[in-house]
Subunit: 398 residues, 2 copies
């Protein structure tokens, strides 16, 4: 016990000696004897959750797996109570076990470097995998595995500096979440890849099946949008042609602040958000990642039992990133809800009378805002953003 | 139940209408409207388990994770009986759970295409992941996730043909193993990547901690070596320069037979082998993959409680592949035990008096041979192959 507490303290120190957005210095390759031009994000041509196979293509491709599935749906029971079997399309798999009433809740995710600080990259990758559990209201993870691909283009020196830092970040984030990393797989690959597997064995009351939205619920989002815009804008600081397209709407300082806010946000666990889902009787949630706010909202809407639809009115966006997104010809489709996020917030359906208290509680516990961004109406299980949504500028520091 | 049985029958039909080494026709790209020159194995520069980060490099890199570990080792207990926590370095993680006496046994693996038949590639990837559970004597898998990277170099057409076939092969293999695939992650990546995660929740008596070898035990291997040599030789049929180096020792027909034997062997589950480990009181096992026979034998030896060492006398090799390995200047280091295998056999420590019965039983149940390949001596927890090991030529058909 004392050991675990020590490690958590160490992780805490690391956080506040280095992990905090305001305190953590930018990663300096030369401090590790690497060339000053070393950039982790250059070891892949795609960034973060922008690497996903497009949603429509994926649906088509996985239909081969899906078919198994519906026919078995009615089967698993325990003491005559059906345990829902949840699978492809939602954030986690939930598998009823042979052992009295227990379920395995499990998820996997991996992607490409999105920030240049290897330690933070490890933290983000871990927070991102865990987020799928948190979206199901699961607050405790029993085990993690790490998935890592070392780029074939890294020198031995780069590899020996970067990979242990990534692993350390991943491990520290796991400790912060109260779990440990016990294994994994490492390969070499043209692009650097980082991810993991998170598993929990729990009782059915420990997770929240995300299909109970009712008319009158409101939608809460627990992290701001715009991580993809921020990490790209940050990279453009060094690319004159790109920078010229956005420099009228944003300063270098703004972009650096937004980048740090994004890094901080992506590495933050959605664990408190998950815990409070139980306290405030959430009707379901999903986490916002590669398919953007609207993509994930639509998936969540499609899985509802009742005839509801989600209407989104407000878009909390990291400060200035909405302007940047507009200035570069809408390539991100941020305000349309399609910009990929990495390790984004939870989108939660809450009873209307509980939502404000939920937001207040999360702010009290974590010091971060959450926002009511939309409502649940009668409808045909779809989601949309209204014509002129209100953009909420979220400052670099809450 | 009837549904599951139907699917298993379908999988069985698929196997005998298509999956069997002798009956399955070579994958014909033109039958799927792809160019005749399409080769799945060209979508990565490394093949199968040859993609592993070298064993020594990996040990160094994961030391950052390992440290957590020993300090917690003494802690997990159930009813005052310590449940061993097993992690990095062995085939599976074993994690004691909060729920009475149960453990999570979990593994992950992914690699690059090693054969050109997408359906068989899916089967091999699945068998390879499950093999880590089987090496621990675990015979039932509760859940599988699939990890898939679609190559950025594939055309849409190629992707739409190949990916569903890979998924089908993976799924069919999972069904054959009595489990299902409930989720996963798909990304795009320069190299095509295929793998998965296998998890089981079980009681401690359902797995075999691989650390109980005693002097006098013998070592049994359940699949022949030489898969890497066979898949490479098969690729060289189309490459005159390479082919010229081996054509004196092998015919095209020999190579095609060896390739099919390898494909069949790699897609075969080690499940019966695992089940029989319990029946014949195995003292521990590992599965032979990327680090070759000797690499994995050394890891297994290093984990023993007693002061033992493993001495390997016999090398069962797919017919003609030892000659091919010699003819191409020993690049594979096959007879030195370093040639990477993909989804290889189990290497099992068995009490001497049980080993012959084990081999006979596996042959009776599956129609495949297993071999006694070495002995356990007093020693310092290492493994070696004797100077002139006997090569057992394993014919394409048993």
């Amino acid at each position: 016990m004392s050991y675990a507490a020590d490690v958590l303290n160490a992780a805490h120190l690391e956080l506040h000696g280095g992990g905090d957005a305001e305190l953590r210095r930018p990663f300096d390759p030369t401090a590790h004897d690497l060339d000053a031009s070393f950039r982790l994000t250059r070891f892949a041509d795609l960034k973060g959750r922008g690497c996903k196979v497009p949603q429509d293509v994926l649906s088509k491709l996985v239909s081969a797996l899906q078919q198994d599935y519906s026919a078995q749906d009615q089967e698993p029971q325990f003491l005559n109570v059906a345990i829902p079997r949840i699978g492809i399309g939602l954030d986690c798999s939930v598998i009823p076990l042979r052992h009295g009433g227990l379920c395995l809740v499990q998820t996997t995710d991996f992607f490409y470097p999105i920030v240049d600080d290897p330690y933070m990259m490890g933290k983000i990758a871990c927070a991102n995998v865990l987020s799928d559990l948190y979206a199901m209201g699961v607050t405790d993870c029993d085990n993690m595995l790490m998935l890592l691909a070392v780029s074939t283009k890294m020198t031995e020196k780069e590899r020996d500096v970067v990979i242990p830092l990534i692993m350390r970040g991943f491990k520290d984030s796991a400790l912060e979440a109260g779990t440990t990393v016990t294994g994994g797989q490492s390969v070499v690959n043209p692009w650097c890849t980082i991810g993991g597997v998170a598993s929990t064995i729990c009782q059915p009351n420990e997770y929240i099946v995300p299909d109970n939205a009712v008319v009158g619920d409101v939608l809460v989002l627990t992290k701001p949008l715009g991580t993809q815009v921020a990490v790209n804008a940050h990279q453009w600081i060094d690319q004159a042609e790109r920078w010229n397209r956005i420099k009228l709407v944003v300063s270098e300082e703004d972009v650096r602040k937004a980048y740090h806010r994004a890094m901080n946000s992506m590495s933050r666990l959605n664990r408190v958000a998950a815990r409070l889902m139980h306290k405030y009787n959430a009707h379901g949630a999903t986490d916002i990642t590669g398919f953007g706010l609207l993509g994930h909202a639509q998936t969540l809407a499609a899985h509802q039992k009742k005839d509801v639809s989600f209407v989104i009115h407000n878009l909390p966006v990291i400060a200035k990133m909405a302007a940047v997104a507009k200035a570069c010809g809408n390539m991100f489709q941020l305000l349309q809800g399609h910009s990929a996020e990495t390790s984004g917030g939870l989108l939660i359906c809450l009873p209307r009378e509980q939502a404000a208290a939920y937001c207040k509680d999360i702010e009290k516990q974590e010091g971060y805002q959450a926002w009511i961004i939309g409502i649940v109406e009668k409808g045909n299980k779809t989601a949309r953003i209204i014509d002129k949504p209100r953009v909420i500028e979220v400052p670099a520091k809450d």
